[in-house]
Subunit: 252 residues, 2 copies
């Protein structure tokens, strides 16, 4: 069977413009061109178009699809897996975004006068974390821990002194969490000490404090896998413990 652009468009469901574009970028070349310049597609082209649509549906870029289809030794399974990884990353970023928006909404609802400046601080922190996640490991390996932390500190325009203080507070807080978990009571002395230290630690990131925002962050610690993993490194269940302690502390 032979088809013109329109016919192929009909049976495949893509637009004629798309077909011409695929021709233009060399993704799908017609079987032949008629004497009058018409594009003529054959069965093989139909098959290839089907494949193209398949990978497209998977969310691949046309460039990647072309590479995939053109290299005979291309490992399709590997490509799919890599692609899946990319999609998952995208989803994680989206999740973070949603979390952020959610939290902002919560804060705004709880306390409408939260200044944009504060929002900006939170935003900076986010940026830092994301950056860290993307390049942190590599950078650490290449330049060592110090450089990374220095850059982080610089990024947050924090003084060396503040940075050290912050780390000291965090360390103290971790100790308090451990003590509190031994007591098994987030409302107990150690648990509440942890919450207080967490508030203090927060002060390095946020220019002002509110119970609502604090409680919101606490909830996030158990809902966001990334944060949960960080705290649970201390000891499994640490994220939940800290959350409970903070919720009691803030009375929310």
């Amino acid at each position: 069977m032979e088809y013109t652009v329109n016919q192929l468009a009909q049976i495949s469901g893509v637009s004629t413009r798309a077909l011409r574009y695929y021709h233009q970028i060399g993704l799908l070349t017609p079987k032949r061109i008629s004497s009058t310049g018409y594009r003529i597609y054959g069965t093989r082209e139909v098959d290839r178009l089907q494949q193209i649509l398949f990978y497209k549906e998977m969310g691949m870029s046309l460039e990647d699809i072309g590479k995939t289809l053109n290299s005979p030794d291309f490992n399709r399974l590997k490509a799919l897996k890599e692609h899946k990884e990319r999609l998952m990353e995208k989803r994680m970023q989206l999740d973070m975004l949603i979390e952020n928006v959610k939290k902002t909404i919560e804060s705004a609802e709880g306390r409408m006068d939260m200044s944009d400046k504060e929002k900006f601080y939170g935003f900076k922190k986010q940026l830092l974390e994301q950056n860290e996640k993307e390049y942190g490991k590599e950078t650490r390996e290449r330049y060592g821990e110090k450089t990374v932390e220095e850059s982080n500190r610089k990024f947050m325009s924090m003084s060396e002194e503040d940075f050290n203080k912050m780390q000291a507070v965090e360390k103290e807080m971790i100790q308090a969490i451990q003590d509190g978990m031994a007591e098994k009571d987030p409302g107990g002395e150690a648990g509440q000490r942890a919450a207080r230290l967490h508030k203090e630690w927060l002060g390095f990131y946020w220019p002002s404090y509110s119970k609502e925002a604090h409680a919101g962050l606490a909830r996030m610690y158990t809902e966001d896998e990334r944060f949960k993993a960080y705290y649970d490194k201390i000891r499994p269940g640490a994220a939940e413990f800290l959350r409970d302690a903070i919720l009691i502390f803030t009375g929310k």
Copy 2:
């Protein structure tokens, strides 16, 4: 404080090009232009930039950000909520994509020589199902069962004869599942008959057969809610029964 582009770029973290672009589209206009044409930003501009970055981080388009920041009576909370909804929708789409890719990988792992053609068949079927789910009910109501099935058949480029055969096989298989469930033995005669019929039925979708892929599909029947629901309509537990029967049949 007054800043030049570079200085503002430094403290904000955005590129100078971005700042010029923001100026160009009227999103962030400098406080004034120096006699020599330099852009000079003031404190108010810094604040506005922070807000811009904030909403940008939320994933908003620059156009939307402009609208948000420029309308004094704009309900920021409402805007955020709407924006959240959009993000959630995006995520759902992503989730569907990921599911799709995952399943393809699973199938492919079951039998590495699975050709793209087969994948495409599966894909077509998926598309069909999705389409069916979205518009099926409505279409059925409007045009009746026949039209829908005819269109499906056409979509899968199956002959009328094949289509009828396929339906007959499916019907037989359903009967076998019912018999097998009465026997309560997926390894029994009826159960294995169901598995064999399922293999035959599969032949209409897949141009070639492998035990691995068959077993993979069987597992999917219980993991994918959509499929599970379809088979459990026969009788609750039918999906699991069919899975077990197929796993025994394929010896996987």
